[in-house]
Amino acid sequence: MRINTQKSFPYPVIRETHDDYMDEEFFLWSTNESNRKPKFELSEDSSIAKFELNYSLSSTAIKRQIANGNAVYLSVFSCKETFFHKVFESSSESNNFVEINLDEISGKIELESYVYIKNDLTIESKNINKEYFSDTFSERKFDYHEGNIIAQAQVFKFNCVPDIFNFSSSLFRLVQDDDLKDGEWHVDTDQDKIIIKAAKNIIKIEQNLTNQKDGESVLANSIYFSAVMHAVILYLDEPELVNVYHWAKVFEQRMAIKNVRDDEDAYKIASILMDWPLSELHHLSGEST
């Protein structure tokens, strides 16, 4: 089922956008953070995303059914690009963890969460909207059947792009600009990719460095560090760029993964985003780490 906020169900469903149930809510939340958004962490090698799912449901009548095994909390992780699909069920409100191998993902992971009916049941609640009943004085009861959903949380989409600052990837592009004099270069961020236009001699240097051991580290600490820092400044000045350019979305996502505060200085944010690139030069320093 694709969540559609305009959809009318033939039975009352707790959801943010409708008042089928009055004063009831169902949402996911994150420990350590006050916001209503599930959290994920990347493994050290960035190959696994580990999600923490905490469900909050206000209805005691439904909670009772979950405790009795007639309903469950259910989350569906999916990636449309790769046909990835994983269903997670639990009767526990918190301490739910789901690991996803990022080799199976391209682009976004979508997370939909529900309270799902396992066995036919009846919910009696004074909070069911009276519009569902023709008679004002009738009991506020509703029958649900196996396969129905009784609560639906907000949908979340996550970008898990761990290797985005690998400069052979497609976020950055270095191109020769014959109008530039030797040594000159500039960064163009008015496109989905970050385009670094450089004079012919810079391009030659880049090609030589790419073919040398540690050459990429030198590049990361020079031209690419400057480009990232420049983009960070633009992003901090104008966060709405995420709605316009792909690179800004990547920066936003990467800052979220790295837990970077946006009140840090730009040089520091760039260093964190690039995993402290100066350290990569240790081979050139003649010392082993």
Binding site: M1, K7, P10, G107, R173
Partner: protein, 360 residues
Amino acid sequence: MSIAFFKDEALDELFENIEVNLDRYRNGDFDDLITDDSVHKFAELSINQEFLISIYGGQDDDVDNCLKMFEAMEGLTPKLARDKRLWSYLTHTSLFHYTRERWPIPDDDDEAVNWIKHHFFITGSRDFERDNAASRLWWTTFICKRVTNIDTRKALGALFFRMDPRSQVLDRKTTALSTNLFEAVLEKMIISFEGDQKFLTDRHGLNRPFMSEVNALGGFNLLNALSLEQSRKKLKEIDQTVKFNDLPNETILNEIDVLEPESSGHLNTLPEEKTIKTDMSLRQKLVKFDLEEIRSKYPNTDENERILSRYMLFTFDDERPRNMKEFIEVFSWEDRDGISPDESFYVAQICKIIDDHLNL
């Protein structure tokens, strides 16, 4: 052999120069143009070149080629397989001649450019499973292999039997994503494939209405959570409730017999027609063309795959596309994909008949 991807610059350059390179696409190759500087190589993953170069042939070889492609790319992850640089590299190198053989390039230059964009490159998300000559083989196999209870060759046989039912399943991501439901649909397709084949061949009367109902099923049911048994049960319910179009699948040959002369103003309506905003002459011209040109050359095309089947004729007559661009706008991808490859070459001529007619 290490797996290789085009560098972005190389891919962009090729894409921008399709028209310039048309002669290479038609008669030559890119061996001298694609050098080591054009690619990134990844030593961690290798391609079995022997399997790769054994891929050849046309539509009838799709199933075998799918299996070869999957063998050749053993270890490829879905994440890497979503990189258009990989597949475009293959269609311009090891699989260049296969791609040209499988998807013969049209004579018209504009058509050819569009054709090449889809079959040699990847321009959108759906091209991975549908159009790119190399990636469609891998992705279709990958999707079938998710269903561990069904022999992959059988699954591929049913999926590739007709293009339209295949699209109906793969393009409806909710169905394709829900592994159990997908397995149940696949079972149904295989039963049909091995039986009377009606579910797979009657695309407008049977397959599409059924798949629409499956899609609607997702409206209030959490398809992802259905077990295989529950999925089978749901499909049986749909089988019983779908109102099949049980009108006989009249052929256009029969239809022309009842066409009235143009001057009479009497319209021979199709079952789905509400109001026909046409005159008889265009319809007659199309039917005549179908009868004299297409059917005489291809008498055995499946009625559901004819370029001028009842449904297609109605839509041509109703929407009147005058050129390839308008044809693409008017007909959904599923409609276009469901046309027999032999007859798809008549599209330009049909559009010309319409254009000439409208210019009168």
